[in-house]
Symmetry: C2
Subunit: 201 residues, 2 copies
Amino acid sequence: MAPSTRARILDAALELIQQVGFTGTTVTAIEERSGLSPGSGSFYRHFRSKEDVFRAALERELERAQQYRREFERGTVEDPQAALARRFLQQLDYMAKIRPLINLLAREHGQFPDLTSRIGGILLDRGIVEEAGHLTHDLRAHVDHADPHALLTVVVSALSGYHLARQFFGHPPAEVTPERFAATLAALITSPRTADPHGTE
Amino acid sequence: MAPSTRARILDAALELIQQVGFTGTTVTAIEERSGLSPGSGSFYRHFRSKEDVFRAALERELERAQQYRREFERGTVEDPQAALARRFLQQLDYMAKIRPLINLLAREHGQFPDLTSRIGGILLDRGIVEEAGHLTHDLRAHVDHADPHALLTVVVSALSGYHLARQFFGHPPAEVTPERFAATLAALITSPRTADPHGTE
DNA sequence: GTCTATACCGAGATAGAC
DNA sequence: GTCTATCTCGGTATAGAC
């Protein structure tokens, strides 16, 4: 079925806000991109204001993000290192899917103070922290570390940093593919520590 | 000595652009923040246009960034793990100093296409890649790894991701301090690999 | 529910007095 | 080098016909 005008407006607004920001986006441009006559106020039959459509688009993306999380596979843990690498690739894929949210956060986190905590709540609390719980559980049997909390922070930071570099610059840092990146990170984590050399094998 | 009007305008413009973006920043607001009469065109005695002051502020920050890099200490390599951790803390400190550049990149990288490559050139080519060279050299004696290129990408991504999380959300991920983070990352790197267990000690 | 037309305001930029 | 005053344009939003 064809998307409703309201949905097309949401699409157009989200796209434009990512490209030129909230203040840079004009209602006229949103109308033009939605197939409405530019300059006519037809937009206002669907949303009360520009800020209104901005918040509606944000809420829709937050809904989608939570949906993506629910679709996450929870694979079996056979080879811990290979399983970890697959998990990391899933995380990168997830971040690619919520790209609009990350763009909004990067761009407008100063303008809308509630936006930061709203997105942060979904991304960190619901997303990463939950994932961190899984990782801690799965890894306990395979990884010894003096400071598991800090170890998880390193992992999460590495995944975020790699994704953001790709997103900002259009290509991965040092042209390292996601597969190489995930494998390297997984190998790093599952190696026994020198500080605690009574490894599991 | 008191800063010149031109310098005060540059300060005001940079500050405002980080807060509300380029299109969100008005010349009137810049004048007000610079101690000029808001609404008067006094701004235009110093810069030809809003875009002009934006580019001038950007160039000034790029200059400063290169200056910060020159001040980087090159410590002696005694204890490799401790030296690495110190190096990582320096990197985080550097990123904190160039915060305006990172903000500009995050915010306006869609609007000014040349900006991305310009900042990317300084940050990546001159900054991280150069640093990566040092790391590769210093670590060769202490770290064995099958894919040193990918290992460096992991390190750089972790540092970037940790910094950006702090910058966006106002506090470090999982409340892990920079010291803990750097120490954990350094320990991770300097441990011998299982895949190549003929370590150096 | 989309159009034409328009009111209103704020922002970028200029002219000219001091 | 800063001010007052002003021009012009573009953007938000509304009114009313179809």
